[in-house]
C-alpha cells in the first residue's frame, strides 16, 4: 500500500512538472508583460521596461526561467515556498491564500448539493424507468444542462432576490400562488410515488391539499418574516427521520435499529432547550464542533446499547439519524436569527443579496447573524451552480444504476428472495457509487479553478477572478500560481479517486502484485 502511494505520488510529481513546464513556456511566449509599456509615451518608458525586465527576469529565456520559478516553488519542501510577485505588487502566495478559501466556500456546498440531489433523483428516475417522472426529469436535466450560468444567475437574481425581497415587504401569498404551488407539488409527489391510477390521484390530492394549506398557513402567520420550527415540529420531523433512515439503511424490520434511532431522535428534541442555551450564550464554531462530537459519541453508545449482534449497521443508522435530527435544531436556530438579521440596518428587510461574499455594512458581533449573512450570500451562487451541475449527476446516476440492475448478481439476489430494499440499497446502490465517487472527486477539482463566470456575475473574488486577472494582465507568475493550485488539485483528485475506487470496490486491491 505504502509503496503504491509513494509510486503514485512520484508519477503525480512528474506530471505536474511536465505540465507546468509546457504551460510556463506557452504562457511566456504568448504574453508580453512589456506590451503596454512598449506602446507608452511615458518619458521614463525605458527605465520602467528595464526595471520590469530585471524584476521578472525577462532577459532569461522562458525554458530556463521556468527553472528559476521552479526553484521558488520547490521551497514548499523547506517550508518557504516562493511563487514570485504578481504585477499588482502582491506576492502570488498571498493572493492565492486570499482566493482559495473564497472559491472553496463557493463551490464546496454547490458541488456537494449537486451530487446529493443529482444522485437521489437519478436513482428514483432509474427505479421509475420510462415513467412520467423519468421523462420529465430527463427533460429538466437536459434543459438545465444547456443553460449558461450567467443567464441562470440573472434570472435567479431577478426572481429569488429582487422580487422576493420586494414581496417580503408585505408577505401576503396571493391565492393563485397557493393553488399553483399545490398543483406543482401534487404532480411532483404523485409522479415520484407512481403506482396505479388510483394511488396516483390519491397522492396527488393529498400532496395538493397538504402543500396548499401549508403555504397558506405560512403566509397568513407571517412565518416568512419570523420563521422557526419549535420543539414540536422538530420532534415530529425527528421521528420521521428515524423511521426513514432506518427503513433505507436496515429496514423497519430491524426493531433494535428502529429503537436506537427513535431514542436518539427523542434525545435531540430533549436537547433542544439546552442546545439553544449554548447557542445563545456560548456560540462559536468550536462549541458547535464539540456538540457534534458529543452527539456522535452518544449515538454510538445508544447504538451499542440497543444491539447485541450485527452492531455496525445499527450504530451507523443511529449516527445518521442523530446528525440529521440535530441539524433540525441548528436550522431552527438559524430560523430564529432570520428576524433579527432582517431588522439590522444593513439588511433592512432585503435579506437575499445578489452580489458579494458578505454584507460590508453588517458589523454584527453576533455569531448567528454573521453566519446567516454568509449563508444568504451563498444562497444564489450555490443555487446557480447546483442547478447547472446536478443535471449531469442525474443522467450519470440513472445510467449507472440501470446498468447495475441488469447485472447477474442482482438477479441472483432477487432469486434468493431478498427484499427489494436490500437488493436496491445493498447490492445495486453500492455498486453504483463506485463510478460516481470518481467523477465526484474529479468534478470538485475541476470546479476549483473553473468558476470564472460564476465568480464574476456574483462579484466574488476567488481563483477565477485571479486567473482572469493573470491572463488579462499578462501576469505570468500569477497565472502559474493559479495553474499550480488547479493542476495540483486535479492530480490529487485523481489520486484520491483511485484510492476511493479500491476502498469501494472489493475486486480492486491496491498495492498487490506489482
Amino acid at each position: 500500500m505504502v509503496a503504491f502511494i509513494l509510486r503514485r505520488l512520484g508519477v503525480l510529481g512528474v506530471i505536474l512538472m511536465g505540465s507546468s513546464f509546457i504551460l510556463y513556456n506557452l504562457a511566456a511566449i504568448s504574453a508580453d508583460p512589456l506590451a503596454d509599456l512598449r506602446l507608452s509615451t511615458d518619458p521614463d518608458r525605458d527605465a520602467k521596461i528595464l526595471a520590469l525586465t530585471r524584476e521578472l527576469q525577462l532577459d532569461v529565456i522562458p525554458p530556463l526561467r521556468y527553472f528559476l520559478w521552479l526553484r521558488g516553488v520547490l521551497g514548499i519542501f523547506i517550508g518557504q515556498p516562493d511563487f514570485g510577485t504578481g504585477r499588482d505588487g502582491l506576492a502570488v502566495l498571498d493572493s492565492l491564500a486570499l482566493a482559495i478559501p473564497v472559491t472553496l466556500r463557493l463551490v464546496a456546498a454547490a458541488t456537494l448539493l449537486a451530487a446529493i440531489l443529482g444522485i437521489m433523483i437519478g436513482i428514483v428516475t432509474a427505479l421509475r424507468q420510462y415513467s412520467r417522472f423519468d421523462y420529465s426529469m430527463t427533460f429538466i436535466a437536459f434543459l438545465l444542462f444547456s443553460l449558461p450560468v450567467f443567464w441562470v444567475a440573472v434570472l435567479l437574481k431577478e426572481y429569488l432576490a429582487i422580487s422576493f425581497n420586494d414581496f417580503l415587504r408585505e408577505p401576503n401569498i396571493p391565492f393563485n400562488w397557493i393553488i399553483g404551488i399545490g398543483l406543482a407539488s401534487g404532480l411532483f409527489w404523485a409522479s415520484v410515488i407512481g403506482g396505479s391510477r388510483k394511488t396516483f390521484w390519491t397522492t396527488y390530492v393529498v400532496a395538493f391539499v397538504a402543500s396548499s394549506s401549508l403555504v397558506a398557513v405560512l403566509g397568513m402567520t407571517g412565518w416568512l418574516l419570523d420563521p422557526s420550527l419549535g420543539p414540536i415540529v422538530v420532534l415530529v420531523l425527528s421521528i420521521g427521520i428515524a423511521f426513514g433512515v432506518t427503513q433505507i439503511s436496515v429496514g423497519l424490520g430491524n426493531r433494535k435499529a428502529l429503537g436506537a434511532s427513535l431514542t436518539i431522535a427523542g434525545l435531540s428534541v430533549v436537547a433542544f432547550y439546552p442546545a439553544n442555551w449554548v447557542f445563545d450564550n456560548y456560540a462559536s464554531a468550536l462549541n458547535i464542533f464539540l456538540m457534534v462530537c458529543a452527539l456522535i459519541t452518544t449515538s454510538v453508545f445508544i447504538g451499542l446499547a440497543f444491539s447485541k449482534i450485527d452492531r455496525a449497521p445499527i450504530v451507523r443508522t443511529t449516527i445518521i439519524t442523530g446528525v440529521l435530527s440535530a441539524n433540525l435544531v441548528l436550522i431552527d436556530k438559524f430560523m430564529q436569527t432570520w428576524k433579527p438579521y432582517m431588522q439590522t440596518d444593513a439588511i433592512n428587510y432585503r435579506p437575499v443579496p445578489t452580489v458579494g461574499e458578505r454584507n460590508d455594512l453588517l458589523n454584527s458581533p453576533d455569531f448567528w447573524i454573521s453566519n446567516l449573512d454568509v449563508i444568504t450570500h451563498l444562497f444564489l451562487p450555490t443555487m446557480a451552480l447546483t442547478l447547472i451541475g446536478f443535471a449531469g449527476y442525474i443522467r450519470f446516476a440513472r445510467g449507472t444504476l440501470l446498468e447495475v440492475l441488469n447485472q447477474d448478481y442482482i438477479r441472483t439476489a432477487r432469486a434468493k428472495g431478498l427484499s427489494e430494499r436490500t437488493v436496491i440499497m445493498r447490492h445495486a446502490f453500492r455498486n453504483t457509487m463506485i463510478p460516481m465517487a470518481t467523477i465526484l472527486v474529479a468534478d470538485f477539482a475541476g470546479v476549483i479553478g473553473g468558476a470564472f463566470i460564476t465568480e464574476s456575475v456574483f462579484a466574488w473574488s476567488g481563483m477565477g477572478t485571479l486567473g482572469l486577472q493573470a491572463i488579462r494582465g499578462q501576469d505570468l507568475n500569477l497565472l502559474m500560481g493559479v495553474f499550480f493550485v488547479t493542476a495540483t488539485m486535479a492530480v490529487l483528485a485523481n489520486f484520491v479517486a483511485d484510492l476511493l475506487y479500491s476502498a469501494l470496490d472489493p475486486r480492486i486491491r491496491v498495492g498487490s502484485g506489482a
Binding site: D36, L39, S40, T41, D44, A47, L50, A51, G89, L98, F150, V154, K157, A161, I162, N165, L168, R169, E170, W189, V206, A207, A210, S211, L214, V217, L218, T221, G222, W223, L225, D226, S228, L229, I232, V233, V236, L237, G240, I241, F243, G244, M342, D345, N348, Y349, R350, V352, P353, T354, V355, G356, E357, D360, L361, S456, V457, A459, S461, T465
Partner: protein, 615 residues
C-alpha cells in the same frame, strides 16, 4: 416518501398553533445612514499620487479622507474651502508672483494633532525636482533610478515655475510660494496638507497612535529634516509614502498611523478587489460642516455590468456609475427606486486631420498634407463637412443623456455664456450651417473640383480607429457611410494600442478624446501647440495658434480669454484641421432616497460634496 408528506402535515399543524401566539410584524424601513457606491475598478491604495495607484476610485476615496484649500464642484468651478484656510496673492509683478497659504487655526487631523503650515511642506518635496536632487532623494528625471518619493508630481508646471522654496511663517501656520510669473491657474498648483507627523512615526517604525506631545515632536522632526535636507530621514519617509500607503487590505490590525487624514471620513476597512469601508471622522473640521446624515460609505467593486444593475435594483447599491451605454441606461430606467442623472464627463471627442509630419513619426504625405495646398485644404473641408455629427449625436449620444447638439468649440464647456459667444463667431458655422444633406452637397462640390469622378472612384482615407470600444466603432460606421456620399472611402485600421499610433504618417485622420482633469486656460493646446503639446498628433502648425497658446500661460481676464479662444478657433476652422463632436456622456443612478449627491464632470466625480448627503 411517506414521512415527508406527514412532515408537511405536522408542519402545517404546528404553524397553525403558532398562529395564536405569533404576531405579524410589519416590515418597516429603518432610516439608512450608509451609502454604498459602485465602482468597476478595484481599489489601489491610500496614496493616489503614484503611477500605479492613480485611479478614479482612489481619487473618489481620497476626496472623502482629505480636504485642502479648494475643490471643484459639479459646475467645474473651483471653490475655496475657507473653513480649512485661505490663500491670497501678496505680490503681483511680471517676474515675482507670490501667494500666501494660511491654515485656519484649530484644524486637526483625525488623531487630534493640529494641522499647521508644516503639513503643507510635503507638497514641495513631491513637486520640486530641484528639492529632490538637493536633498539627495534622487533625480526624478533620471531614467535609471527612482526618486525616494516615487510620485507623479515631478517635472510638472509646479517644478517649472516655482522659485526657491516655500517660506514658512514664524507662527508656522502660513506658507508662501513664489512663482516666476503670474502663471495661469496658479490656484491649482498650491500646496495640500499631508499628515507628516504620521509619516515620520511610520518611518521610525511606530505601529500605533502616539500621544499628542509625541505627535508634535514628530512634526518638528519633519520640519528639521525638511529644512536641513536630512537625506536619511527623508528617504525613510519617502519609502513610507511610496510603498506603505499602497495597502489594499485594511482591518483592525492595520497600523492606524496609515489611516490618519483630515477629511470627513476615515478608512475603516478594505478587502482587496472587493470593497472599502469609510466611517465618519468625529474630529473633522477641515471643510464644510457635515449637514447630512451619512456615517458610513462603502465602495463596492462589481465588474460585471448586469450584476451591478441588479444589485442596484435590489438595494445593495445606492450609487451606480458604470459604463454609459444605451443598453445600460435602458436597464437602469426600468428600476423605479433610483434617479438617473445623465450629464457629461470632461472628456471631449474630436476628429483630427493629418496636416504635416510629426517629429519622431513616419512622414506624412497623404491627401490632407499641407503640401497639397488649396486642393488639400478643400479636401479637408469636405471631409469635416461630411462627418455626420448630427447623426452621431442623435444615434449614439442622445439615447444616453438627451444631448443632440454637437460641440462647436473645445475650449469651454457648452451651457456657458462664453461658449455661446465663442461659437457665434469662431468659424464653426461653416460646419453647422444647413442640414447634413446641404453640407454633403457643399462637400461633394469641393471634392469634385479636384476629383470629378470621386463618387465612382472615391478617395481612400486611412483612419486610425481606437479598438475595444463599441461607441467608437459605431461612430466610425456612421462616418464611413456618410462620407461615402461625398466621395471619400474610409479605410479603418482598428488598433487596441491606438495611443502609441497617434501621429503616425500611415493615417490621414484620427478620432479620439482628450480627458481634462482640471479646468485650465490652456485646455486644448495639448493637441494644437507645435511645441510641447502632449497630444500633438496632426503635425499642425500655425503661428497664430502657437501665439495664443503661449499667451495662455499667463492668467488673464475672462473677456480677453474668450477673444483669444476665438482667434485660435478661427485659424483652426479656416485651416480645417480639427472638429469637435461631443463630450462623453456620463451615467449615474442614485437611490431616490439619497439626497444631495450630484455627480461632477471632473474628478472626484461622486464625492466632492459628501458633507451634504443625507437620506
Amino acid at each position: 416518501m411517506k414521512f415527508t408528506r406527514s412532515a408537511k402535515f405536522a408542519l402545517a399543524a404546528a404553524a397553525s398553533a403558532a398562529l395564536a401566539v405569533s404576531l405579524l410584524t410589519p416590515a418597516q424601513a429603518a432610516t439608512r445612514s450608509t451609502v454604498v457606491i459602485h465602482h468597476t475598478n478595484v481599489q489601489t491604495g491610500l496614496n493616489c499620487g503614484l503611477s500605479t495607484t492613480n485611479s478614479t476610485v482612489c481619487t473618489d476615496q481620497a476626496a472623502l479622507t482629505g480636504m485642502g484649500f479648494n475643490y471643484y464642484n459639479d459646475k467645474k468651478e473651483l471653490i475655496k474651502n475657507t473653513t480649512f484656510g485661505s490663500y491670497k496673492v501678496i505680490k503681483n509683478s511680471k517676474t515675482d508672483f507670490r501667494v500666501q497659504y494660511t491654515v485656519a487655526p484649530g484644524r486637526v487631523w483625525s488623531d487630534g494633532t493640529p494641522i499647521t503650515g508644516v503639513d503643507l511642506l510635503l507638497s514641495h518635496i513631491l513637486g520640486s525636482d530641484t528639492y529632490s536632487i538637493e536633498a539627495g532623494l534622487g533625480d526624478p528625471a533620471s531614467k535609471t533610478t527612482k526618486p525616494a518619493f516615487n510620485g507623479q508630481g515631478y517635472g510638472s508646471t509646479y517644478h517649472k515655475n516655482i522659485v526657491g522654496e516655500p517660506v514658512l511663517s514664524s507662527d508656522e501656520m502660513s506658507v508662501t510660494l513664489r512663482w516666476k510669473s503670474p502663471i495661469a491657474n496658479w490656484d491649482l498648483y498650491g500646496p495640500g496638507p499631508a499628515p507628516v507627523h504620521a509619516m515620520v512615526l511610520l518611518a521610525e517604525g511606530k505601529d500605533g497612535l502616539q500621544s499628542a506631545s509625541a505627535n508634535l515632536a514628530a512634526k518638528d522632526r519633519f520640519l528639521a529634516a525638511y529644512k536641513s535636507k536630512d537625506t536619511a530621514l527623508l528617504k525613510k519617509i519617502g519609502k513610507v509614502w511610496s510603498e506603505d500607503y499602497t495597502i489594499t487590505t485594511i482591518n483592525s490590525s492595520t497600523n492606524p498611523l496609515l489611516l490618519i487624514s483630515n477629511g470627513g471620513f476615515i478608512v475603516e476597512s478594505a478587502v482587496p478587489k472587493t470593497s472599502m469601508t469609510l466611517v465618519v471622522n468625529p474630529k473633522y473640521n477641515s471643510g464644510p460642516k457635515m449637514t447630512g446624515s451619512i456615517d458610513k460609505i462603502v465602495f463596492k467593486v462589481i465588474t460585471d455590468g448586469t450584476a451591478a444593475v441588479q444589485a442596484l435594483s435590489n438595494g445593495e447599491l445606492d450609487v451606480y456609475s458604470g459604463q454609459a451605454t444605451a443598453d445600460a441606461v435602458a436597464a437602469l430606467k426600468k428600476i423605479t427606486s433610483v434617479n438617473i442623472t445623465g450629464g457629461e464627463q470632461a472628456v471631449y471627442e474630436h476628429w483630427d486631420l493629418h496636416y504635416d509630419s510629426v517629429e519622431g513619426e513616419t512622414p506624412y504625405t497623404g491627401v490632407f498634407s499641407k503640401n497639397g495646398g488649396a486642393k488639400a485644404k478643400a479636401l479637408r473641408q469636405a471631409f469635416l463637412l461630411g462627418i455626420p455629427r448630427d447623426e452621431i449625436m442623435e444615434k449614439i449620444i442622445a439615447p444616453i443623456n438627451g444631448i443632440t447638439k454637437p460641440l462647436c468649440t473645445s475650449w469651454v464647456a457648452p451651457g456657458t455664456s462664453a461658449y455661446d459667444k465663442i461659437c457665434a463667431v469662431n468659424g464653426s458655422a461653416f460646419y453647422t450651417r444647413g442640414t447634413q444633406e446641404s453640407r454633403n452637397k457643399t462637400a461633394l462640390a469641393l471634392v469634385q473640383k479636384f476629383y470629378p469622378d470621386a463618387l465612382k472612384n472615391p478617395i481612400k482615407i486611412n483612419v486610425l480607429v481606437p479598438g475595444g470600444n463599441a461607441r467608437r466603432a459605431a461612430q466610425f460606421a456612421l462616418a464611413k457611410a456618410n462620407l461615402a456620399k461625398v466621395g471619400f472611402e474610409l479605410v479603418g485600421d482598428v488598433q487596441s494600442g491606438w495611443g502609441a499610433l497617434l501621429g503616425s504618417g500611415k493615417y490621414d485622420a484620427f478620432f479620439f478624446a482628450w480627458v481634462s482633469s482640471s479646468v485650465t486656460q490652456k485646455q486644448s493646446c495639448s493637441v494644437l501647440e507645435t511645441t510641447g503639446g502632449s497630444n500633438y498628433v496632426m503635425g499642425y502648425s500655425n503661428s497664430t495658434v502657437d501665439k495664443v497658446c503661449t499667451e495662455l500661460d499667463v492668467a488673464m481676464k475672462p473677456d480677453l480669454l474668450v477673444q483669444k479662444y476665438i482667434t485660435a478657433d478661427r485659424a483652426l476652422f479656416a485651416d480645417a484641421v480639427t472638429l469637435p463632436v461631443f463630450t462623453h456622456p456620463g451615467v449615474t443612478a442614485i437611490n431616490k432616497d439619497l439626497k444631495g449627491l450630484k455627480p461632477a464632470p471632473l474628478s472626484p466625480q461622486l464625492t466632492w460634496n459628501y458633507w451634504e448627503w443625507s437620506y
